[in-house]
Symmetry: C2
Subunit: 317 residues, 2 copies
C-alpha cells in the first residue's frame, strides 16, 4: 500500500468503483426515531443522549456505506455543537470508519498561523496510521484566508504522515462570490488560491497527484471545469451534490479523462434519504438504513451513467 | 449589566483600566516543570497527562491575570491537539475563566456554510449566560473566506445571546499578504472584508459599537490605523503584540480617541514570561506565575504610557 494520501484514495475508489464520498452530518432534529429512542434509554443527560445518538447513527450509516464507497466525510461542527461529549463521539466515529477500511476526511475547515496551524495538522492528520493523531483522520479541510505560509505546516504534516488536505477554493454556498469571486489582477481570488494549491500539490506528487487537494462546489459547474484545468495535479473534493442542487452532469468537469481527480460528496441526500421525496414512501423511518443504501447506490449509478468520468472509472479494471 | 457583547467588554476594560487581552496558549514543551510533574502524578496516559497539565496551567494563569485584565483568549488548536481530553480541558478552562468574571474569546477561527455555520455559532457563542452553549464563550474568532452569507448565522446567534464574533480581516502572520492584500476593485481584499464587517456591525449597534468585531494584526500598524477608519463601529482584536513583534506604539492607531475600540492580545509573552530574556533571571521556572504577573503588568503599563488610547482609558473614570 502506498503511503501517499491521494494514491490511497484512488486505490479505494478503484476498489469500490466509484468516486462517491458520503458525508456524515448528524443533526438531532433529523435522526431516525429508533436511534433517538435508544439514546434516551442509555442516558438522562441531554448532551450525552445526543452524542450517543450521533455515534450510533454514524456507525450504522458507516456499516451501510462501507461496502459501497471509498470514503466518508464527518462534519465536525455538528459534533462540536454537543461539546466535549460530541468531540468524543466524532473521535470514535472516525476510528470506526477507518477500521471498516474507509478513507476519512474530517470536514473541520481549520486554519491558523505558524505553530498553531501545525497543532491543528497534528491533531487531525493521522494519515496512514490512524493512531498517529488523536482525531485519526486521513485528510482535513483547510481554510486559506490566512495566507500561503499558513498552509505549509499542514503540507509538512500531511507529507510526513501520508495524509491529505483539501483547501477551500470555491465553496458551494450562494454567497461564496462575495469574497472568492473578487477580481484581482485579472482573475478571481479563487483562482489565486487555486494556483497556490497547484504549486503545493506539485511539491507532493505521486502518480500525477499531490496530497494537497481543493474543495470546489458542484453548484458552480463552469468554475469546476475551469479549476480542473488550473489545478491538473490537485485532487478535488466536490460538495453541493444533491440537496444543495448539484447533479451528476454538473460534476463532469471535475474529472480527468481517466476517471480520476475528484470525489463527489453527498451528505443529507444519503443520511436522511428516509425523509426525502424519493425514498420516504418506499422505506419510511424504520428502514432508514435501507433508504440510505438505496440513495447511495442511486448516486453511484447516476455518476457512472451520466458522467464520462464515472463510466471510465467503472470500466478501468 | 448590558446584554450587548461589546458593551460588556468595555465595562470590563473600564473596570480593569486596560485593553489587555491575555491569550491562553498551552504548549506542552513550554509548560513549567511543576505543572508537568503534577500531571504525571495524576495520570499514566499521555493524553490525560497533557490535558491535566493544560488545565492546571491555564487555571493558575487565570488566577494570576483575572484581577488585572478584562479578557482572556484560549487558543483552541492546542487543546484540540490532545483529542477529546483536550476538548474537555478547554471547556473547563473557559468555564473557570467566566466564573472569575473574565470575558472569554475562544480563538478557534471557525467558518462554514448555512446551518453548519449556525452549529458552530451555537457550539461556542454562549454570550451573557455561560451555560447557553457547551463551550461557554463570550465570543469566537471567525474566518470570512466562505463569504458574507456564512457570517450571518454567527451574527444571528451573537445578537440573540449577547455574544460577539471577531472576523479575520488582516492577520498578523508574514504571509497574510498572499491572499488578504490582493488588490480587487482598487482596494485589497482585507478592505472588502472590513467593509462587510462594518456593515454587519451597524446591524448590531449599542453605544457606538456592533457586536461584530475584526482581527487585525499589530504587526501591520499602517493597515491598523487605516482599518480603524474604515470600521468605526467595529471592536478590534489585535494579535501579534510581543513575541510576534508588535509593540505598544504599533497599536496606537487601533483605538478611538476616547480609548475604546480595541483589545490587544499577548499570549506567549505572558504565558511563558518565565522563559523570556526579560523575566527568566528574576523569576525562573518555579516562580512562573510571578513572571506572568510581571509581564502582564508591564504590558498594561506600556500600553497606558505609550499609547494615547491607553492613557485616555486609564483616566476615563
Amino acid at each position: 500500500m502506498s503511503h501517499h494520501y491521494t494514491t490511497r484514495l484512488h486505490e479505494a475508489a478503484e476498489a469500490k468503483q466509484t468516486p462517491v464520498l458520503v458525508g456524515l452530518d448528524p443533526r438531532l432534529d433529523q435522526l431516525p426515531p429508533d436511534v433517538l429512542a435508544h439514546a434516551r434509554e442509555l442516558y438522562d443527560d441531554p448532551a450525552a443522549q445526543a452524542a450517543a445518538a450521533f455515534e450510533e447513527f454514524c456507525i450504522r450509516l458507516i456499516d451501510v456505506v462501507a461496502p459501497l464507497v471509498p470514503a466518508v466525510k464527518p462534519q465536525s461542527a455538528f459534533f462540536e455543537e454537543l461539546g466535549p461529549d460530541g468531540c468524543l463521539a466524532l473521535c470514535r466515529v472516525i476510528r470506526y470508519a477507518r477500521k471498516q477500511g474507509l478513507i476519512v476526511i474530517c470536514d473541520a475547515k481549520r486554519g491558523d498561523i505558524g505553530t498553531t496551524a501545525e497543532a491543528y495538522a497534528r491533531a487531525y492528520l493521522a494519515g496512514v496510521d490512524p493512531l498517529a493523531a488523536p482525531w485519526g483522520a486521513d485528510a482535513l479541510t483547510v481554510n486559506p484566508y490566512l495566507g500561503r505560509d499558513t498552509l505549509e505546516p499542514f503540507v509538512k504534516v500531511a507529507k510526513e504522515r501520508g495524509a491529505g488536505i483539501y483547501v477551500l477554493v470555491k465553496t458551494s454556498n450562494p454567497g461564496s462570490a462575495s469574497l472568492q469571486d473578487q477580481q484581482a489582477n485579472g482573475m478571481p481570488i479563487y483562482q489565486h488560491v487555486a494556483r497556490m494549491v497547484e504549486e503545493l500539490a506539485l511539491e507532493t506528487l505521486e502518480e500525477g497527484y499531490g496530497c494537497i487537494g481543493a474543495v470546489v462546489g458542484a453548484t458552480y459547474p463552469r468554475e469546476l471545469a475551469e479549476l480542473r484545468a488550473v489545478m491538473p495535479h490537485v485532487p478535488l473534493l466536490i460538495p453541493g451534490y444533491g440537496s444543495q442542487g448539484g447533479a451528476a452532469l454538473d460534476v463532469v468537469g471535475a474529472f480527468h479523462p481517466n476517471g480520476y481527480g475528484a470525489i463527489v460528496n453527498n451528505s443529507r441526500g444519503i443520511n436522511f434519504a428516509y425523509k426525502s421525496k424519493e425514498f420516504a414512501e418506499q422505506f419510511g423511518p424504520k428502514r432508514w438504513e435501507a433508504a440510505a443504501e438505496a440513495a447511495t447506490k442511486q448516486m453511484i449509478a447516476d455518476l457512472a451513467k451520466q458522467t464520462p468520468a464515472g463510466k471510465l472509472l467503472y470500466t478501468s479494471f
